[in-house]
Amino acid sequence: MGIDSLPAALSVIRPELILAVTALVCLALDLLYKPADKMPCWAVAFFGSLAALASTIASWGTEQEAFSQLVRMDNLSNFFAVIFLMVGLITLCLSDSYVQREGLPAGEYYTLLLISMTGMVFMAQANDLMTVYLGIEIMSIPVYVLVAMMSKSPKSPEAGLKYLLLGGFASAILLFGIALLYGAVGTTQLADILRQAPGALKASDPLFLAGVGLLLVGMGFKVSLVPFHMWTPDAYEGAPTSVTAFMSVAVKAAGFSVLIRVIVLSLSPMAVDWSQIFWWLAVLSMVLGNVVALVQENIKRMLAYSSIAHAGYVLVALTTGTETGIHAALIYLFIYALMNLGAFGVVIAVSREGDQGVEIRDYTGMARKRPLYALAMAVFMFSLAGVPPTAGFIGKFYAFSAAVKAGYVWLAVIGVLMSAVSAYFYLRVLVVMYMKEPEAGAEYSAGPWGAPIGAGVSVSLWVCALSILFLGIWPGWLSHFAQQALQGLTSLL
């Protein structure tokens, strides 16, 4: 289906083009406007992302390759693009007042966010290892900067630097893996790799196998699987909270989009091998993420470990290498995006200038003072813990039942047990909010939750909370779209 006319080729990457142009406009506006009124930047970024989302939704159902098969638009790429753009839009809503309050350079902030989203959409559309690499870099470099952006706090630049160093390390590993693969099979095209994989496997070509291993490491870093997760707590804690929210869901989803495309689909002939590696990575991530989260006092750090565990749950579904498994992973990523964004939204709403008020004890007695935020947080925590009727339960249900169907019973058992462990640290937030009295005279009891946080945060909280309840009760809708996203790809399995 290769098309060579330029307009047709450009229509395949239309969302990326919209995002990139919007990013440039933002940058230009930043130069033109005085620092006092940066509002146009936000609006431009918002409507640009909205347009990209509309463009993606409009091309739902089309299947096209372009630029010498470097990119490929299909329902799977569209599904992921919808997740990225949805996350982007909600992040923008969460950012507006936060950026003003923390005095972040708004123009650069929104520009970097948009460029990062551009990279993500490229990742979702990658049909060639070169596109994979380019996408990852376009996504990552802006995020490194975003993490380090809160220069007032010493933690933020440190986090950015750590993330940059380790990210560079992981990129190098990934690139080296691509080089080895190219050396083994002479191509970077995913379709060609799929065609040549059986031969390479038969010969047990060490170049090929090592290349795959290095690819796994590079992608495992992006989705923060144990043992490639070490940067996560530091980066999540130090980054501006809105950036943490964005990273924890969008970057992770983007990482999974290439993991699914490259490993699960294009390397399906060697599923026997990588599924065992997935098994271990999933178990390690679930155990370490959930167990270490138990003792965290900082809610951003707690959610960082929680995100490691959730990457483990997604990997449980992918370990199966079946259509049901990928289907479950797509559903999980969508739901996880909503609930994690919501949780970070509450963190933003509750925090004070200088990223204060992010310790769990700062939530003491919050239910009295801000009952609606507490209620929303309760929904997100229940959902993250996987309690029905929230969507989090549906996500876990699909993931674990896919594992059981494929015969990975023990993996599902470990997953369920670790979910039980996770209930402790999620529900602890509820206990603190609902069952503890605010300490008299403590700094935070003076009304830390009274600061104006802008309508955007409230709106996104309610959108997330209601969507979670909606998907928890009527999951068929999401399941239907996830099923469509896999159409035409299952023949690869």
Binding site: L209, V212, G213, M230, D234, V291, Y424
Partner: protein, 648 residues
């Protein structure tokens, strides 16, 4: 069997009180304005009245059908469907449930009305009436349920309401405890009942018939072995012993008098406690198939009848006397159904509903007048002060003691006669009941004489005594009409009339299993003996409590041991306490709670798991030291492991 006729109004009989319950239960407000009070009791009373009207309508419709085809059904929806087993939410009305429905809604409605006066000014007015309505709904589900599952639902539902209402004034720990006791004792019976249900369901299923509908159980009962039938019957009867307060599970009923008096009248006299009798009659096809079960039921009833009656003699609390009397009369009913005279048992159930409800409401009226005093030794001479209460009480007493032509005479006499003449009866059985009848007459007139005759023993209380308002006395009068005349529908055939009641029920429970043929002359002789014994009780009570009043004390002094034994209710409560309550409590507290639960489960399993994870978390977090070199090292280790795995 003829096809049942669909009668879609049936569902409204239990539904109306349920709606009343929801309105009053959910709409409860703390501040009771007179307008709210009126709204509460209007809703609460109209609901059972509506049910009563539908019941009457259904009853007339039933009468219009040929005797063999008297069955109305109303299927609301399919409740459970699993494989070839389905359970529908079906209400069905046959002559047996029609009698029960009329009694429950009719007597129930009057008691609701009476409650308006009795509960006037209570802070939990709305809660009271919502519970009462819920009880009505559950009782009607019990009697109208077309299958065992619905019967069980109602059975548990009325038990729950009974618990709510006994402990209605829960601020008083003694009353709350009485509610708890009723619940726990009933659970013991219900445990057996449930086992019986399972056994019946499972053993029929083993024969390929998965059903809980009464009709199809009856059709397939021949598939079961006699041993299974006996076991099922005894287990089901265990439930009846709890619910209908038979030995050994009767102990909760006297304590249940802690509830408001109209509750005692409705639940603990007229309706709920008779559920066991209804259940045995409903399952008659099972019981009749087991001689052992029949004898067991009859003898349990007879012994309970005499045992409880003797306790009644020495009680000084007006409600306690009536409570033991109820236990005793329930014993009579079980003798009736236990000797196969189902119609007679249900007949006594109906007449008893009238006269015992009347007695309780009369007692309530007296308590109302005496500032909630219940000790009959402080009463006396109320005859003039409360003429309505007095005369209706007299009617009820004559009825329960078995004076013709009051209702109790006919029903009790029928049971007495059947206990002798039936296939399952014997002279011994009859003799026990006959003595119990004498005791009944004695303790009832003792109650009447001490309460209403003689001189006032407490001048202060007497001074303030007054007749109750019309909202209470009118229900008394209506019930008195029933207590006096309800027996006329069941005049025995030997008197030359047709026994209408027996004929009405015959299609459901079958004819009487007659023993040896006995002449009418003998039957009339037994009627004479019954009447004689009623008069004997009256005479003795008069002699003891009106003529030579020092006699009871003298006798009590002379036979002090015997008197103490009976006065203390044969020490049954103390016995149970020593045998069951305290050992179980000790086991629960000292071992199950403190050692097993707190020590092993809580501290070992639950906290142990938590401690394990806390410790693991503390050691695992140390990996995260913060320097990038360490992080990169972890990645390298992971990378080497993966490549190693793939290459090797």
């Amino acid at each position: 069997m003829e096809e049942a006729i669909v009668f879609p109004y049936l569902r409204w009989i239990p539904l109306l009180p349920l709606i009343g319950f929801l309105i009053n239960g959910l709409g409860a407000r703390a501040d009771l304005t007179p307008a709210r009070v009126r709204r509460i009791h209007w809703i609460a009373c109209l609901a059972p009245f509506g049910s009563f009207l539908i019941s009457v309508f259904a009853f007339t419709k039933l009468l219009g059908l040929p005797a063999e085809g008297r069955l109305l059904t109303d299927t609301v929806f399919t409740w459970i469907a699993a494989g070839n087993f389905t359970a529908n939410l079906t209400f069905s009305l046959d002559p047996l449930s029609s009698v029960m429905t009329l009694v429950v809604t009719g007597v129930g409605f009057l008691i609701h009305v009476y409650s308006i006066g009795y509960m006037h000014g209570d802070g939990s007015y709305s809660r009271y009436f919502s519970y009462l309505n819920l009880f009505m709904a559950m009782m009607l589900v019990l009697v109208l349920g077309g299958n065992l599952l619905l019967l069980f639902l109602g059975w548990e539902g009325v038990g729950l309401c009974s618990y709510f209402l006994i402990g209605f004034w829960y601020e008083d720990p003694e009353k709350a405890y009485a509610g708890l006791k009723a619940f726990v004792v009933n659970r013991i019976g219900d445990f057996g009942f449930l086992l019986g249900l399972f056994l019946l369901f499972w053993s029929l299923g083993q024969k390929g018939v998965w059903t809980i509908e009464f009709g199809s159980i009856q059709e397939h009962v021949h598939l079961l072995s006699p041993a299974v039938i006996t076991a099922v019957c005894l287990l089901l009867f265990m439930g009846a012993m709890g619910k209908s307060a038979q030995i050994p599970l009767y102990v909760w009923l006297p304590d249940a008098m802690a509830g408001p008096t109209p509750v005692s009248a409705l639940i603990h006299a007229a309706t709920m406690v008779t559920a066991g009798v209804y259940m045995v009659a409903r399952m008659h096809f099972l019981f009749i198939a087991s001689d052992f079960a029949m004898h067991w039921v009859a003898w349990t009833g007879a012994i309970t009848a005499l045992f409880a009656a003797t306790i009644g003699v020495c009680q000084n609390d007006i409600k306690k006397v009536l409570a033991y009397s109820t236990v005793s009369q329930l014993g009579y009913m079980f003798v009736g159904v236990g000797v196969g005279a189902y119609a007679a048992g249900i007949f006594h159930l109906m007449t008893h509903a009238f006269f015992k409800a009347l007695l309780f409401l009369g007692a309530g009226s007296v308590m109302h007048a005496m500032g909630n005093e219940t000790d009959i030794r402080k009463m006396g001479g109320l005859r003039k002060k409360m003429p309505w209460t007095f005369w209706t009480f007299i009617v009820a007493t004559l009825a329960i003691s078995g004076f013709p032509p009051f209702s109790g005479f006919f029903s009790k006499d029928e049971i007495l006669w059947q206990s002798y003449s039936s296939h399952f009866g014997s002279t011994a059985l009859w003799a026990v009941l006959w003595i119990a009848a004498a005791v009944t007459s004695f303790y009832m007139f003792r109650l009447v004489f001490l309460t209403f005759f003689g001189e006032p023993r407490d001048a202060h209380l007497h001074e303030h005594a007054h007749e109750s308002p019309a909202v209470m006395t009118v229900p008394l009068a209506l019930l008195a009409v029933g207590a006096a005349a309800a027996g006329l529908v069941g005049i025995p055939a030997s008197w030359g009339f047709t026994n209408l009641f027996e004929h009405f029920l015959e299609p459901v429970v079958g004819g009487l299993p007659h023993g040896a043929h006995v002449s009418h002359a003998v039957e009339l002789l037994f009627v004479g003996l019954s009447i004689a014994v009623a008069f004997a009780g009256l005479f003795l009570a008069w002699w003891f409590y009106l003529r030579s009043r020092e006699l009871p004390e003298r006798l009590a002094g002379r036979y002090a041991r015997l008197y103490d034994l009976v006065y203390n209710k044969y020490y049954v409560d103390e016995l149970y306490d020593a045998l069951f309550v305290r050992p179980i409590r000790n086991l629960s507290e000292k071992f199950l709670w403190k050692i097993f639960d707190a020590g092993f489960i809580d501290n070992g399993l639950v906290n142990g798991t938590a401690r394990f994870f806390q410790r693991s978390a503390r050691s695992l977090r140390r990996i995260q030291v913060g320097d990038v070199q360490g992080y990169a090292f972890a990645m390298v280790v992971g990378m080497l492991a993966i490549i190693g795995f793939l290459l090797l």
